[in-house]
Symmetry: C2
DNA sequence: TCAGGACAAGATGTTCTG
DNA sequence: CCAGAACATCTTGTCCTG
């Protein structure tokens, strides 16, 4: 059977430690376990560990990220207590933060750095609620077909949907904020939201490892600025006036 | 001299192939060149290649991403034709962006993504001027002893010095801005600067691969929030009132 | 068929030499 | 002081045994 290793995609694999794996990956896993190795990823815990060229396979595998390789072994169900004929399915991790498509979840799966967690206790609550907001976004924006490229008008519509989620997030984090008069809430939120949008876009860029792209919270990409300001109905670029006229007013949120 | 390797931060470094480097990195570079090695990064071409623990240094270095290590060697000016007594500064004709200490320059050495470069021509000028500002910062903040941890009062002082550099940067980028009346300049800059500070801090976090730390443009770290609000003269924490009283007013810049 | 030990090849840091 | 060769150590895939 011309099967492939579920870890590194090397061809000709058998069952090792409960997963479809080549001998190289099997040996790597066995030694990692028996030697109690601790690895540290130098990238972002999502390194590619597939062998690209069988000709240079040896050299290639020598340069694999050990942390990510070991993590993939585990995620594919490898286990030293697994015995032949006792193949387990890949582990299913609890559904955690998932900013749009597959993307990168590893960063957000991490715990808060101890110093921030201890010195700013509210961060723990904010992070948990942020998780909820991300899950809500998956529902709210699910029909918008992420990942794709969108234009200006669509980004405005999405923003109008998203601002409510952010308001809910904040309300869930700050009890005192909820008790404020509506007018005060709007003033505060107005001052907060524009900065937050900037920060969150950079945050998403960072965790998606796409520093040269702009991805909205909905998971939609607004990378191409020419098509971004293109009006598909008239097949022209939007004029400055049209753009300014439709700049969203997200001032009044709480009412 | 207790110097550090500009590639991997290992202590005790000498000059090798034209850059401050430890022997390990020197040997790695020499063999890469003489053997004409081609490496492929498994991450995103921005892997961390600093040695974290000297105890496990050997194991640590064995797991470095070769592609990124070699790239960093080149970016630090390593060259086989360099001979002792003929030390060259880091590659790249004009001195390139170097946000504080060695840190990570690879990201900023890159050209702009073509779509951004073509669709927003001013970015090229802004990037070049940003480079100049970073260089200026090296001079302006050189006596502040980066990298180190600082407290609130110091961050205010640094900010007062830095805001002028940012104002110069903007003035150098936008001709029309310079022609505005001073009052208008201040209003515009005031609206711009608070957002810019947020963005730049996240930007620095990103390119320094330290998403859990806050590093100011001067290169100083403000990671520990307990010591950040500590008043060293009285050995107490600052009160809320003291903090608010000294919040910097960076509104009037142009005069 | 597969786990584990032994071996060989490759990669990297250290020491030595000039 | 530094480049390069030689050597030792660590990593990893293959082979062999049970
Ligand atoms: Zn494999
Ligand atoms: Zn990795
Ligand atoms: Zn080094
Ligand atoms: Zn890399």
């Amino acid at each position: 059977m011309p099967s492939t290793c579920s870890i590194c995609r090397e061809k000709s694999s058998e069952t090792h430690f409960g997963a479809e794996a080549c001998r190289g990956c099997a040996t790597f896993f066995r030694k990692s376990v028996t030697m109690k190795m601790k690895y540290r990823c130098r990238g972002n815990n999502d390194c590619d560990i597939t062998v690209k060229n069988s000709k240079t396979a040896l050299s290639d595998s020598h340069s694999m990220c050990r942390a990510c390789r070991y993590a993939k072994c585990l995620s594919m169900g490898m286990n030293v207590s697994n015995r032949p004929g006792n193949i387990r399915k890949p582990k299913s991790t609890p559904k955690k933060i998932n900013l749009d498509q597959p993307g990168t979840t590893s960063f957000l799966l991490e715990d808060l750095p101890p110093n921030f967690r201890d010195q700013v206790p509210i961060l723990t609550k904010m992070k948990a609620n942020y998780q909820k907001m991300v899950n809500a976004r998956l529902v709210v924006h699910q029909d918008e077909g992420a990942p794709r490229v969108l234009n200006y008008s669509e980004s405005v519509e999405q923003g109008m949907k998203d601002v409510g989620l952010v308001a809910d997030w904040i309300s869930g984090c700050f009890e005192d904020f909820v008790k404020l008069p509506i007018q005060q809430k709007n003033v505060l939120f107005h001052n907060f939201y524009s900065k937050f949008c900037l920060l969150e876009v950079t945050f998403i860029s960072h965790i998606k490892h796409a520093p040269d792209r702009i991805t909205l919270p909905s998971g939609i990409d607004m990378n191409n600025l020419n098509t971004f300001y293109h009006d598909p109905e008239r097949d022209t670029q939007m004029t400055k006036e049209e753009i300014e006229r439709t700049i969203p007013l997200r001032t009044i949120i709480f009412e």
